[in-house]
Symmetry: C2
Subunit: 379 residues, 2 copies
């Protein structure tokens, strides 16, 4: 019997009612029934983003919104600071370079969080930097960056904006777009939003919209100004991803019903339970100091062939988790606890991890991780 539990840091499981919503017959993206969906979704996205500004809805993955956050804000030759602490930090650099923007990297060891003082120093050194690009949660390492503190440093500078990739942060832990003065926040559908991949979102502050007016980089499909104008009429610039947005209405309704505070507390507890379980097996976290509640990155001990784990745990034990990327391939595995995941899913994930580690010759006390997780869950 094949039954697979999806505990990858995106895509994440999609709730049944969201799947059902997406399976409804097609409606036209410029007609009233769909505009009513967009109107509702707009309000609920503001709640999720903790903002009073409209949140743009793009038909792409989060990477499209990241590209848009470069192409719409900057000019050729501009300087941008990029926090490079993992694969997705590097993506900011790649996008900047593709557009002729000078990326000034702050290289951070994979598994560590950036120190806000590094950002301050980089800004002091290059006062004409126009934007600071970073992740709130670096999915490749399971690290949470101190976005709030960095935003404070950036907010003090009139001509610099902070752009936050919140793809595995929004709906995972507290991230206050307006109160923390985050100029651009982008995210995607297939993480805490509990949807299939295919939608991206971007929210811009007034300060960021000021840059949009001056940007000279080419853009067409990811044209934020055009999207803003259309969103005011409850539509998107190009044909909306109708089914995904109908699904989004259902998933945002779930988030609103649970409430952000409860959602963050639940995710935090699941993340702590996972970390406790992992440690009870004698394993180390890649990021003990600043773990993201999106996913837990677990170091695979020397002598264990970590590269085998993702396929083995999936094919033999029915749990899908992620391996490491780039130089962390085979060195870590990542278990997600964001979105439509509950306590039993975490227990299952830990049990499966025990099964597969035992197969690979790692010595462990059966049930230790599940026991440790349960103790967190009942606390």
């Amino acid at each position: 019997m094949k039954k697979t539990l999806l505990l990858t840091p995106g895509p994440t499981p999609v709730p049944e009612d969201v799947l059902e919503a997406m399976a409804r017959p097609m409606i036209h993206h410029r007609h009233e029934p769909f505009r009513a969906v967009v109107e509702k979704v707009k309000e609920d996205l503001k709640y999720l983003f903790q903002t009073k500004n409209d949140v743009l809805i793009l038909g792409s993955t989060g990477t499209g919104a990241m590209e848009g956050a470069v192409a719409n804000l900057l000019c050729r030759g501009d300087k941008a600071i990029v926090v490079q602490a993992g694969k997705f930090g590097e993506r900011w650099t790649e996008i900047c370079e593709a557009y002729g923007v000078q990326a000034i990297p702050i290289d951070v060891e994979w598994g560590k969080a950036v120190d806000p003082e590094q950002v301050r120093a980089a800004l002091d050194e290059d006062p004409d930097v126009k934007a600071v690009y970073l992740q709130a949660s670096e999915t490749s390492t399971g690290v949470r960056h101190p976005v709030r503190e960095i935003a404070e440093i950036v907010a003090a500078r009139e001509n610099t904006v902070i752009v936050v990739d919140a793809i595995t942060a929004l709906g995972v832990f507290d991230l206050q777009t307006d109160a923390w003065k985050l100029d651009v926040v982008v995210t995607g559908s297939q993480k805490a939003l509990m949807l299939p991949p295919g939608l991206a979102f971007a929210c811009l502050s007034e300060k960021a919209w000021g840059l949009v007016g001056k940007s000279d980089l080419p853009k067409y499909y990811f044209d934020f100004a055009k999207e803003k104008k259309n969103l005011a009429k409850n539509q998107t610039a190009y044909t909306s991803s109708v089914s995904l947005i109908v699904g989004l209405q259902a998933s945002l309704a779930r988030i609103k019903e649970e409430g952000l505070e409860n959602l963050f507390a639940r995710t935090d507890k699941l993340a702590r339970a996972t970390r406790a379980g992992v440690k009870a097996l004698g394993l180390e976290l890649l990021s003990p100091e600043s773990p993201s509640d999106a996913c837990t990155a677990i170091k695979i001990p020397d002598g264990i062939d970590g590269a085998k784990i993702p396929s083995l745990i999936r094919d033999k034990y029915g749990v899908a988790i992620a391996g490491g990327q780039a130089h962390l391939k085979g060195k870590i595995v990542r278990i997600s606890h964001m979105g439509y995941v509950n306590a039993y899913d975490i227990l299952s994930g830990l049990a499966a991890l025990e099964f597969v580690l035992r197969d690979l010759g790692y010595s462990l006390e059966t049930g230790a991780s599940v026991q440790a997780a349960l103790e967190v869950l009942v606390s």
Copy 2:
């Protein structure tokens, strides 16, 4: 009782089995079960495109693929001929201009097809033109352009490629990518592919891939070379639109089961029935000489407020059709007959058109359009 028939030229109705396929639980885009889907879809896309080359799968609307067909092929300052015979022709120009490509428009009256000799003359005048951009079917006017003849002219020139927007052409009428030497063919999911909006496709000839290697325009999300490399491993560069691609497998299976020849014959018959019905009401087609089988554009007679038709026919009579765009707003309506549409849908659409025209004071013989359509359908 509310029951709405969707006869808009995109989105089009989605078959029930495709909706069900999309409602399946989420799977990971890098894991084997999904790679097997991509492998199957790749083969079936080749059948649909009538090509031996791989067809790139992009997570966007067709416009994203259009943008990619500019950003990946050309260099800043390049010249491109653009057939402007409607709103989507203008889109090619807008994209070229956004990227600093010099668009040389061939302006064609909306409702007419371009004359291949106009393209030849424009190429003769500017032999250093690198690409000719056009629509196979201009959705805004319901016109079919003579792609095959134009492709022959372009194929004779070593340094020029033809780029075909086949968004409402592929799966509608015969369009032979390889045999006709179409260098780039792009399409989207929400037309004859019978899927929700959110996927785009692009197929490139060797000649076109040669340009990709030299292009200096910025691109990241729509990076064709990166997609090609990934597709060879049965994956997409960024997180795949999993649910839509699982749905695509189901819709392509339908297309293959019907067979392209039968599909084109069916669509052609529905289109002819629609045109006959419209003419039986004393109405004129916007494009009597070169109508596209994707949708029929119908002129609204003077004295009838055409702008009222789309909402009235939808809200009162339960059939969604499209109005005109730009200067054709209020002057035409468009009825689609591509994709998951059958004879009864066409009869319903014509009956609804009769109802609404009568409401607006147009004098007609009840049932004339349905009768004329039936005569085509039984022939």
